[in-house]
């Protein structure tokens, strides 16, 4: 959608600032997730430490977005698409923040795993990581570009990620029973897989807000609503 400028330039500046903070936050969360997973796969504790350090900045940006959003509501009383953009920004920033939290969780698990000999089963995480990362990136892209189709496709992909997580859990549980010496290692990999599954959930939430921002359509909990 082509967006023309507001008569009030300060309103455009405030909206741009909000959007840039959101993009910055998403960029940091993506970087943090990437570092955490590289720290796991490349057994690099420094990358894990960097991923954990990113979280503080992500948390501060969440607070900044809330502050900017409330200020826009107070000063400019936005309506229509402007209102939806501000509300969506306030709603989706906690989801980005939780992606950052999941990156921290993965980094902490990776540091524990790095203290022990490598487990070949870590390769089970690779496709899940790629799938979850793509979902997250696409959800942010969908919000920024107001791409409703892309947002819907992210929501549709969540089930596949859940299946991938379940399959990895099954294999890792089997390995736990076969090789009791590596119990903790396999358990940490299960938690990494679960963290990535949660990243997919947050990407889905972000995509739902993206659809609302772009098309004023609430696509949350549709299964429940239709069956009720």
């Amino acid at each position: 959608m082509v967006i023309s400028k507001h008569i009030l330039g300060t309103f455009d500046e405030a909206l741009t600032s909000l959007r840039n903070d959101l993009l910055m936050m998403a960029g940091l969360a993506e970087r943090s997730l990437d570092r955490a997973l590289k720290g796991l796969l490349q057994r690099d504790d420094d990358l894990c430490a960097n991923a954990i350090a990113d979280d503080e900045e992500i948390d501060q940006l969440e607070k900044q977005i809330d502050k900017d959003g409330f200020e826009i509501l107070l000063r400019f009383q936005p309506v229509a698409s402007d209102l939806r953009r501000v509300i969506s920004a306030i709603k989706l920033s906690p989801n980005i923040e939780r992606v950052g939290d999941q990156a921290t969780n993965i980094a902490k698990r990776a540091r524990k795993l790095n203290k022990h000999p490598p487990l070949p089963e870590v390769q089970l995480i690779v496709p899940i990581q790629a799938y979850a990362m793509t979902m997250f990136k696409d959800s942010i892209n969908a919000y920024v570009r107001e791409n409703v189709e892309l947002a819907r496709s992210v929501c549709d992909r969540d089930e596949q990620l859940d299946d991938m997580n379940r399959a990895a859990n099954r294999k890792l549980t089997e390995r736990m029973m076969e090789d009791r010496d590596q119990l903790r290692g396999y358990f940490n990999l299960i938690l990494v897989s679960r963290a990535l599954e949660r990243v997919g959930d947050h990407a889905t939430n972000i995509s739902e807000d993206a659809v609302y921002a772009a098309a004023a359509e609430d696509i949350r909990h549709q299964t429940v609503a239709t069956s009720a």
Partner: protein, 282 residues
């Protein structure tokens, strides 16, 4: 994701205003309509101020008319009680049905129309030589009502409905102009209500008032809609959002969009509506 950090300004592309694909009408959404306006066009001399407007005004609801200056919203409002005819060289086409009766058919007395469809103006205008009490019942007196008991009852009832009784009940003999701006506006509303109209039209009733007086009028409008159909013109988007059930957006004499206020202010269908309410053009 670095490419996403591109500033919004680079994405902004100026685009000309688009024309709506069809004339909007709410005939499918409004169940009971006080007014049914069909193909209304109004000219001031050669200039067409209203162009082919079709709209149903819901009963016992507040309908807000919004739009930039000169868009025809006040002309449209005045045409609902034929007050625009007071301006020389006006011409009107189309039909306006008030509860099924054509207000413009031959033989209809415009003064009777204006009794049935009351009007409150932007600037409060109590009669300066009359007391508060006289201001309220002047309409009834002019219509030949002289029963003092009836007039006293209607005086109190009207002032109570206008949420002014408690403030002026001991000062009914003071001049109407001795009241504050907000009180004067409520006095004018009481004067309108005293003749028991079917509809109350309001032309920017709060634009000259402070926020407290505005809040009182807005509260009053919400109370009055249980008994009256209210149509109000406002430049205040937030006010339209607060008080109205339906909103109509006019631009260049045309009705661009009409619908439930919540829809208009969260997800308008027409680009022109979106641009106007979000402050992208004026």
């Amino acid at each position: 994701m670095e490419n996403l950090l591109m500033p919004t300004s680079e994405r902004i592309v100026e685009e000309g205003m688009e024309q709506p694909s069809e004339v909007p009408s709410n005939s499918e959404t409004v169940l009971a309509s006080t007014f049914r306006v069909k193909n209304m066009s109004i000219w001031y001399g050669e200039k067409r101020a209203i162009e082919d407007v079709t709209i149903d005004i819901a009963s016992n609801a507040v309908t807000a008319i919004i739009g930039p200056s000169g868009c025809g919203k006040s002309t449209f409002l005045r045409a609902l009680n034929r007050m625009h005819e007071l301006t020389p060289k006006t011409r009107m086409e189309g039909t306006v049905l008030l509860n099924g009766e054509d207000l413009y058919s031959s033989g209809v007395d415009p003064t009777v129309v204006r009794r049935r469809v009351g009007m409150v103006f932007q600037k409060s205008n109590p009669f300066p030589t009359m007391t508060i009490g006289e201001n309220v019942i002047v309409g009834l007196r002019l219509n030949g009502v002289h029963d003092q008991k009836f007039l006293n009852e209607r005086l109190e009832k009207s002032l109570r409905m206008a949420a002014l009784w408690d403030e002026v009940k001991d000062d009914l003999n003071k001049p109407g102009t001795s009241l504050s701006g907000g009180q004067q506006q409520r006095l004018c509303i009481a004067r309108t209500l005293a003749v028991e109209p079917e509809v109350v039209l309001m032309d920017e009733p709060c634009s000259a008032l402070d926020p407290i007086a505005t809040a009182k009028i807005e509260e009053l409008i919400s109370d009055l809609k249980t008994k009256y159909t209210i149509v109000t013109v406002t430049h205040n988007m937030q006010q339209a959002g607060r008080i109205s059930d339906y909103t109509a957006f006019f631009y260049l004499g045309r009705l661009i969009e009409f619908g439930p206020t919540t829809t208009i202010f969260t997800n308008p269908k027409e680009r022109q509506t979106e641009d106007y309410i979000t402050g992208r053009f004026g």
